[in-house]
Amino acid sequence: MQLSTKHLLGIKDLIPQDISLILSTATEFKGVLQRPVKKVPSLRDVMIVNLFYENSTRTRISFELAEKRLSADTINFTASGSSAAKGETLLDTVNNILSMKVDMVVMRHSASGAPHFLAKHIPAAIVNAGDGINEHPTQALLDAFSIQEKLGTLEGKKIVLIGDIMHSRVALSNIYLLKKMGAEVMVAGPPTLIPKYINEALGVKVEYNLKKALEWCDVANVLRIQLERQNQVLFSSLREYNLAYGVSRKLLDGLKKEIVIMHPGPINRGVEIDSDVADSNQSIILQQVENGVAVRMAVLYLLSGRKS
């Protein structure tokens, strides 16, 4: 058993069996993380470089922890404070690092397609940790893992992605993954933040009314408003956004059923989600973070063992 791809560039390239294999392997790694010694020797002598051209807290720490729990050796690279600031190209930087014998690259970049470009030019296995507004595959995998853990299965479940769909790589990866695993997907948010023709292109439902979306779903994955990627005004103010599309306690109390609340972080409290929702029992936000380490361990383990 092995993955059908050499790299994890996006969920788009995976087949459903790959996703099932990653999720079932992650279940066993979650077991490892509950042992007295939370470390296995699987990736001993595998060198991994974490290449972060864009800011990150959760993903970087999560990857680093996953690597350490697998006994891999790691080096960290952040664009600020490196020669990238002096104008070195991405390919030059990576080739220089690879000449020091590195087996895998975990990479985040603000340009969509940067890891795909790199995959064409270097022999090491690449894990995409988020590229621009394209994909964030490990986030989608850990979201799916968390939903599966909470609800037992993905098949037939109704999941709504709320908010900034246009600029969210988490949204795109989630849509690909959930559709492949047989879930129903809806996107909800203001029309300016939802790409046109997304219904035809990706086969997802579109809803502009938050209350209706919440009434439909089993799980609501609330996305962050990505102000740093918006170069034009797409809604009038954060306050107005919160009034129309913020997930509030009052809104949830008005529903007939209790839905599961997720958020990939970092949270803008009081914008897309209110504090009393984010911190409630319905929310599995911190479980998502916990599961992230196990899921990333599974990805690194399965990619490292793949024969080219």
């Binding site: 058993m1 066993e28 490892v32 042992r35 010694v37 296995v40 020797p41 699987s42 990736l43 063992g305």
Partner: protein, 169 residues
């Protein structure tokens, strides 16, 4: 193809292993049994069933261990992980590992490594159904052995669970 143990012999052998284990450990208070995933657990399930018929069943502590992440051949071949379930502490306990066929000894080496991550047992013993005694690659020997056989590397030993037989191919 040669049948090493037929159905009747297999059940007798497993029953003997259960008796031997109890003979050496009259008191199971500080003893835990661990079957090795994936192939060892059919044997360990049967051994434990036998022991539970001879000893107060609820006092027999039994867990499962998967050694996939501790293998030394990850670079050559990837294996699918199985469930590990050790719902008790092994600290200071006598651990009895149960597997089906002891061959190169590498699985047991990995199991010993994995066990360390759960605590420090007082003692570890090994119980196997079949011992291919001339093919060892590591200095590991069983304490309880169902049947020792002499084989060459090109041969395969398999427990056929549908027919409940041990077969040499």
């Amino acid at each position: 193809m040669k049948i090493i143990l037929d159905k009747q012999q297999l059940h007798l052998t497993i029953s003997r292993l259960a008796h031997q284990l109890l003979e050496n450990h009259l008191n199971l208070n500080d003893v835990v049994f661990i079957g090795l995933q994936p192939r060892g657990i059919r044997v360990s399930n049967m051994v434990i069933e036998n022991i539970r018929n001879l000893y107060p069943a609820e006092k027999v502590q039994y867990g499962l261990l998967d050694i996939t992440f501790y293998r030394d051949d990850i670079r050559d071949e990837l294996h699918v992980a199985n469930k590990t379930e050790i719902p008790f502490s092994i600290e200071g306990k006598k651990v009895i590992l149960i597997d089906d066929v002891l061959y190169t000894g590498r699985t047991i080496r990995a199991a010993l490594d994995a066990l360390q991550d759960f605590g420090r047992p007082q003692k570890v013993e090994l119980c196997v159904l079949v011992d291919r005694r001339f093919n060892r690659e590591l200095p590991i020997q069983p304490d309880y052995c169902g049947k020792a056989i002499d084989t060459v590397i090109s041969q395969k030993v398999k427990v056929e669970w549908e027919r409940e037989e041990v077969v040499l191919y």
